[in-house]
């Protein structure tokens, strides 16, 4: 046997061998661990090499950022159309952001957007001072925002067909997100209920909504819904769309939540009931906190799906961000800039959705460390 360099009990902590640390160690472990890994790594580098520099050249280096219109843009390039023309992002910024919302009133949309964060603060930050008071504002926010955006008492009204662009996307997306979660929870509770009538109604609703494409629902909203209403009542198209999108997302949400409910051991509910907690208190205090935690990935998945589905309103003649982009392309000043326009829209959507994804990841990690030892 080899002689030990230290006496038993005196072995100090040594630094790890260099092959385990630093850039070299990382690369060896992650990129070149086996011959197959090495081949894939090289292949990936080759693909990146052949795409990225060319794209950078087109999108940023040779690109024109400020110009009157497409023609002016292209004149500034060596080969017309050989690089990106981003000039529309500044010149048509107002339409892309707000649609045809009157320019003097645009502050109302901006204000509701800022207030949104005030309303969200107590939801997102659990150590917020005066959280209770903030929650009151959260409850009032839909009315405040509705008042600001559509106008009423003291504010000149704006017709809903004038709202467009990113503002419309956000209005539909955020309304859908905010209302589909509570509605989805109620539907999931309905579907797991012992009361046959409530159970059947929930199942029918969920299955019907999930079985019909959102586009069909939007057409129903735009054409048929008024037939079902008592004569004389007219419902604003945007309101009808908001309702449909919310209902659509809530059916999916219900199934995500139901999956979470199924994952809660029966003993939890029994222990709560045995202590005298009513059904609603049991759901609110015991079941839902656990369900929402385990369902975060599914919930955020539904949110992201809903947010992207808002682009479908294009089909019933509403102009969300994508719609405004397409509209700009039909304008002779900007025709031919498809690549730039769709890329721009895609990037905006990506940041919104990736933001949600990042927050959900943060939330999962946070809840996980809070209850680190709960695995059972």
């Amino acid at each position: 046997m080899k002689e030990k360099s230290y006496l038993p009990g005196t072995h100090p902590d040594l630094p790890p061998p260099t092959s385990e640390v630093g850039v070299v160690g990382w690369a060896r472990k992650n990129l070149f661990a086996t011959p197959a890994d090495t081949i894939f790594t090289l292949l990936a580098f080759y693909v990146l090499y052949s795409i990225v520099p060319g794209f950078m050249q087109w999108a940023f280096i040779d690109a024109v950022y400020v110009a009157e219109n497409r023609e002016a843009c292209w004149k500034m390039m060596e080969t017309p159309g050989g690089a990106a023309c981003w000039a529309f992002t500044s010149i048509r910024l107002n339409q892309l952001l707000y649609g045809f919302y009157p320019e003097t009133e645009v502050w109302r949309i901006n204000l509701s957007f800022i207030l949104l964060f005030v309303a969200l603060a107590p939801v997102l930050i659990d150590r917020l001072p005066f959280r209770k008071q903030f929650f009151i504002f959260t409850g009032l926010y839909p009315f405040v925002a509705g008042w600001l955006i559509f106008g009423w008492f003291a504010l000149p009204p704006v017709a809903s067909q004038d709202i467009g662009g990113l503002a419309l996307t956000l209005i539909i997306g955020i309304t859908g997100i905010a209302f589909s979660l509570p509605l989805g929870i109620l539907l999931a509770l309905g579907r797991t209920s012992n009361l046959p009538v409530i159970k059947i109604l929930s199942v029918l609703f969920i299955e019907f909504i999930r079985g019909v494409p959102l586009i069909a629902l939007l057409f129903i909203a735009s054409t048929m819904l008024n037939y079902f209403m008592p004569p004389g009542t007219t419902f604003d198209l945007l309101v009808r769309v908001l309702i449909m999108v919310t209902l659509f997302a809530s059916a999916y949400m219900a199934e995500v939540i139901r999956g979470g409910i199924a994952g809660i051991p029966k003993g939890q509910i029994e222990a709560a009931s045995a202590a005298g907690l009513s059904y609603w208190k049991t759901m609110y205090l015991i079941v839902m906190p656990q369900v929402l935690k385990i369902s975060i990935p599914g919930i955020v998945n539904t949110f992201i799906g809903l947010f992207k589905d808002t682009t479908l309103v294009l089909i019933i003649g509403m102009f969300d961000l994508l719609g405004m982009g397409k509209a700009a392309l039909t304008n002779l000043n900007w025709a031919g800039l498809h690549r730039e326009m769709y890329l721009f829209v895609a990037v905006v959507f990506f940041f919104c959705c990736y933001g949600m994804s990042l927050y959900s990841g943060y939330l999962e990690r946070k809840l996980d460390t809070e209850n680190k030892f709960q695995k059972k």
């Binding site: 202590a275 205090l285 209850n371 709960q374 695995k375």
Partner: protein, 256 residues
């Protein structure tokens, strides 16, 4: 035939009265013609083979299971489908489960104060004082701010007992409180229960811990196939069992 040899061990009044009670799961007749009278301060141990209906019986007492026929009266309130009555009875009857059933998303202290605050409408501060007192009694006050998953099984079960006691129940039901525990933790839980018994709590305990039965029970009930087969004081029950099925069961359980 159920041997009726009820000895009125305590002078107390009747707190649970069950008469001609039947329970079915679908077509399965799980409890058959159950008669049972429990007096204030009594400790009753229920034993019997697996599937005999012990859990079902005590779960009927707080309506975790619904009986279909006969009468169950707890503290003067008949168990019907009246939700208010059920909630009243449940808040007066504590229950401890085999699998602890602590709420994993709440700390030990929050587990304990939840029902007092939300059911009894107790101010949080008062509820926390009571909870800390009881956690001290089950000898784990230092764990109050931890989460259930950080505790050993024995500790969790003692928390479950404290949590039930926080509601100041008049009756405690235990459904095999030690059978999910490692042997070295059984004693700490049984000791807690013995202390509770000495304080005069009315207790119905489903358990196969015969040492516990001998030490604390006023009465031992033996069930088989949904019926109460035999009912006696522990002395007679263990030394001179009347029914053949009881003898067989005791020989099996005491011989290993």
């Amino acid at each position: 035939m159920a041997t009726k040899a009820i000895k009125k061990t305590e002078t107390g009044e009747t707190v649970i009265h069950i008469e001609g009670m039947h329970k079915w799961f679908g077509n399965f007749h799980a409890l058959k013609d159950i008669d049972l009278e429990v007096f204030q301060g009594e400790k009753i141990v229920i034993c019997g083979p697996s599937g005999s209906g012990k859990s079902t019986l005590i779960r009927c007492i707080n309506r975790l299971e619904e009986h279909q026929q006969g009468l169950i009266n707890v503290h003067g309130t008949n168990l019907t489908s009246d939700l208010k009555d059920i909630e009243t009875i449940r808040s007066d009857v504590g229950m401890v489960f085999q699998s602890f059933n602590l709420f994993p998303h709440l700390t030990i202290l929050e587990n304990c104060v939840l029902a007092p605050i939300w059911v009894r409408k107790m101010p949080r501060k008062e509820a926390e004082e009571i909870a800390m007192d009881l956690l001290e009694r089950v000898k784990i006050p230092e764990q109050a701010l931890k989460y259930p998953g950080q505790l050993s099984g024995g500790q969790q079960q003692r928390v479950a007992i404290a949590r039930a006691l926080c509601m100041r129940p008049k009756i405690m039901l235990f459904d095999e409180p030690t059978s999910a525990l490692d042997p070295e933790m059984i004693k700490e839980v049984l000791d807690t229960m013995i202390e509770l018994a000495q304080d005069g709590m009315t207790m119905l305990v489903v358990t196969h811990e015969m040492g516990f039965a001998r030490k604390v029970a006023n009465r031992v009930i033996f069930m088989d196939a949904g019926e109460i087969i035999e009912e006696n004081d522990p002395e007679t029950f263990f030394n001179k069992p009347q029914n053949d099925r009881t003898k067989l069961f005791l020989s099996q359980i005491l011989n290993h």
